[in-house]
């Protein structure tokens, strides 16, 4: 049995005539946390969205768990148990926290809902306090927790996180990254993470890729990249305030 869960091979994605991804190769093994770092507009989020099938890759292939999912529509990709916490969180603002979590469990038609919702509430106790509040009234950090919680309700094999630290206070970022670590270590959840906050992401990840202008320019273990002088110059020292 191969332990590769997600394999992105030579993927090119276009927005109209503009090429956003120029032949990207990325591999995520089972049980890993892999992060993708890079500057604004490098194509990080595009790669994540391409994995989810919107937009679809023009060339190349995306293999998930031994199956080619390149041409599948988004909702069928989600049914292969790839859950996503999208950029900007995209929770349902007028539905309550509880209903948002229900929506996450709609793949199994709420079969494991009661069991799973308790797990989410243990992981993020704040969500339990806020469960009957509307999603739109939550703070940014709580919304991010809800977005991750909603994705976890689908019992994913692979969790895609698009910029979970975006616009959050350092303390909240730490809480969220700790939660990701717990999920990975205790439940063996595979996580593919897109981040601008390179320092926190590299510290957390087993492996990482650096993306520049739609191409992967560097890869290695989190520690290696943290020590790499080029990465330090481009993403760490300049980026830290």
């Amino acid at each position: 049995m191969s332990d590769t869960l997600l394999s992105v091979q030579g993927v090119e994605t276009y927005y109209g005539n503009i090429r956003a991804l120029a032949g990207v190769n990325v591999e995520v093994k089972k049980g890993e946390i892999v992060s993708l770092i890079g500057a604004n507009g490098a194509g990080k989020s595009t790669l994540m969205m391409t994995v989810c099938g919107s937009p679809q890759a023009r060339t190349g292939s995306i293999i998930f768990d031994g199956e080619d999912i390149t041409r599948l529509p988004t909702h069928l990709i989600a049914r292969r148990r790839i859950a996503q916490s999208p950029e900007g969180r995209r929770i349902f603002p007028r539905m309550t926290v509880y209903e948002n979590l229900q929506m996450g469990a709609s793949l199994d038609n709420l079969k494991y809902f009661n069991e799973d919702v308790e797990k989410i509430f243990t992981l993020f106790p704040r969500l339990k306090e806020r469960q009957s509040q509307r999603g739109g009234t939550l703070s940014g950090g709580e919304q991010q927790m809800l977005s991750i919680g909603r994705a976890l309700m689908a019992r994913p094999k692979l969790l895609l996180l698009d910029e979970p630290s975006l616009g959050l206070a350092p303390l909240i970022i730490k809480q969220i990254f700790d939660a990701i670590k717990v999920l990975n270590e205790e439940q063996g959840l595979t996580v593919f993470l897109v981040e601008q906050n390179a320092f926190a992401a590299l510290k957390l990840s087993h492996r990482a890729y650096v993306m520049v202008n739609g191409q992967v320019t560097m890869s290695g273990s989190g520690k290696e990249l943290l020590a790499n002088p080029e990465v330090r110059a481009a993403y760490l020292e300049g980026g830290r305030h």
């Binding site: 539905m95 209903e99 996450g104 038609n109 509040q133 509307r134 999603g135 739109g136």
Partner: protein, 462 residues
């Protein structure tokens, strides 16, 4: 409360003085504003010369209205509003909702069930016709249509400006099929619903990718297409002449309402002949249909498809990433919404006995949509109240013959229907921007309901 009355006592004299002062100021401002517009009028006389008419009396009326109005507002209206606000905030804090408010829908259903017999008792068999037919049935048709549209607009968030098309499909399905093949109402009612749902899907397919204003324009065009087909396909629909002589419905085939039929309802029970029985039967029929719509809506909201609709309204991309097939979700919303439109349409045909394209103009779509928006999208009770106020209100205008005495014999109050309708909409939208019942009821709770603070959460990303 004591707080307020204290300030009132100490400021009692002040208040009158202030009101007087503000009233005089308002009068002066009005004088300045209107002296040239109202006080002086230029007209041409018979020799084409410009003459200046002086209208000081009219100007005085304007100024007095402004001054007295301002005086009354400051002296009485504003303090009473402030007192009510203070009282309301105090009451809301510690008391629960009144019995009436909690059981509003049950009380309303019981009231509707006893409404026709009550009217017969009050106004006699013939006198009840107006109240049961013009008010009862007319309002309930719009309640049902608005509840049907609510599934598409309120739950799934798909702005549909051509809803009347499905109403027309239902009406013509019944009218034509009953005349051509002699099917009874009870066979054709589900058939009309299915046909309308089918047309809902046909509309749904091309607009799957559209949203918001673009979707609205295409649905608007769809409504017009259906109407134009009805006008121009004269061999089948008889064009603008319409289809007349549509058979009446019977009580499940047991009793008929045809005067000549041996099993006529009035004959069977030895009652005097009257069309009122048929109207009362129709009243209960549309009431049952409307309640069916409400029941289905409430059930669906708790089912996966209903949750998917609401999620779709909030965020389509998030929906897809959660594994929801947005294509089938949208199509079912269109189809189920259209189906209730079709039911209402076949009821309309059976009630009128005559259908023509005149009944299915864009204005109807607009009124139905306005009722949904005014009532508060997604709220069944709010929509029913809005329909009663809007449709009942315009019907009431016809009754206001006493206004002829005030404004002269040429005055026809129903001509001002749309003006008042528009004004009412503006007023409601200013006071209650989310409709009569603006807050969405959650469908799921973990243990108990808590008060939900987020009724003002905006759409989009909070």
């Amino acid at each position: 409360m004591s707080n307020i009355s204290n300030t009132n006592e100490s400021a009692g004299g002040n208040l009158t003085a202030r009101a007087l002062r503000e009233g005089i100021f308002a009068g002066i401002i009005a004088l300045g504003l209107f002296v040239l517009f109202v006080g002086l009028e230029t007209t041409q006389n018979i020799r084409n010369e410009l003459v200046l008419n002086q209208r000081w009396g009219l100007l005085a009326i304007f100024v007095i209205i402004a001054a007295v109005g301002r005086f009354l507002t400051v002296a009485y209206f504003q303090p009473s509003m402030a007192a009510r606000k203070a009282a309301a905030s105090k009451v809301a804090a510690d008391t629960e909702e009144s019995f009436f408010k909690r059981n509003f829908s049950k009380i309303a259903i019981v009231a509707l069930l006893i409404y026709p017999p009550l009217m017969v008792m009050l106004f006699g068999v013939q006198g009840s016709l107006k109240w049961v037919d013009n008010f009862g049935i007319q309002i309930l048709i719009y309640v049902m249509l608005a509840w049907g549209l609510n599934i598409v607009v309120g739950l799934a968030g798909l702005l549909d400006l051509g809803y009347v098309a499905f109403y027309a499909v239902g009406a013509y399905s019944y009218a034509l099929l009953s005349q051509q093949f002699g099917f009874s109402f009870w066979v054709l009612l589900p058939l009309a619903g299915i046909l309308a749902a089918f047309w809902g899907m046909i509309l749904g397919f091309p607009v799957l990718r559209l949203k918001g204003d673009y979707l609205a324009i295409v649905t608007l065009a769809f409504g017009e297409i259906i109407r134009l087909v009805l006008i121009n396909w004269t061999e089948v629909t008889k064009g603008t002449f319409g289809v007349s002589g549509i058979p009446k419905a019977s009580i499940f085939g047991i009793w008929s309402f045809d005067v000549s039929a041996p099993n006529n309802f009035a004959k069977a029970f030895g009652l005097p002949m009257s069309s009122a029985y048929y109207k009362i039967f129709l009243f209960y029929l549309i009431l049952a249909l409307a309640l069916l719509t409400a029941y289905v809506t409430i059930r669906l909201r708790r089912m996966p498809i209903g949750r998917a609709w609401e999620a779709l309204r909030e965020d389509e991309i998030a929906c897809r990433s959660l594994g929801i097939n947005t294509v089938t979700t949208k199509l079912t919303a269109f189809a189920i919404g259209a189906m209730f439109g079709g039911f209402a349409g076949s009821f309309f045909a059976v009630r009128q006995g005559f259908v023509s394209p005149e009944s299915f103009v864009f204005l109807e779509s607009a009124i139905i949509l306005a009722i949904v928006v005014l009532g508060g999208m997604g709220s069944l009770v709010g929509i029913a109240v809005a329909a009663a106020v809007m449709v009942g209100g315009t019907e009431l205008l016809r009754e206001m013959t006493f206004l002829k005495a005030v404004f002269g014999p040429d005055f026809t109050p129903e001509l001002y229907r749309m003006l008042i309708f528009g004004l009412a909409m503006v007023v409601v939208m200013v006071w209650k921007p989310r409709g009569f019942v603006g807050s969405r009821e959650p469908t799921a709770f973990l243990r108990e309901r808590k008060s939900v603070s987020g009724s003002f959460t905006k759409e989009g990303h909070g």
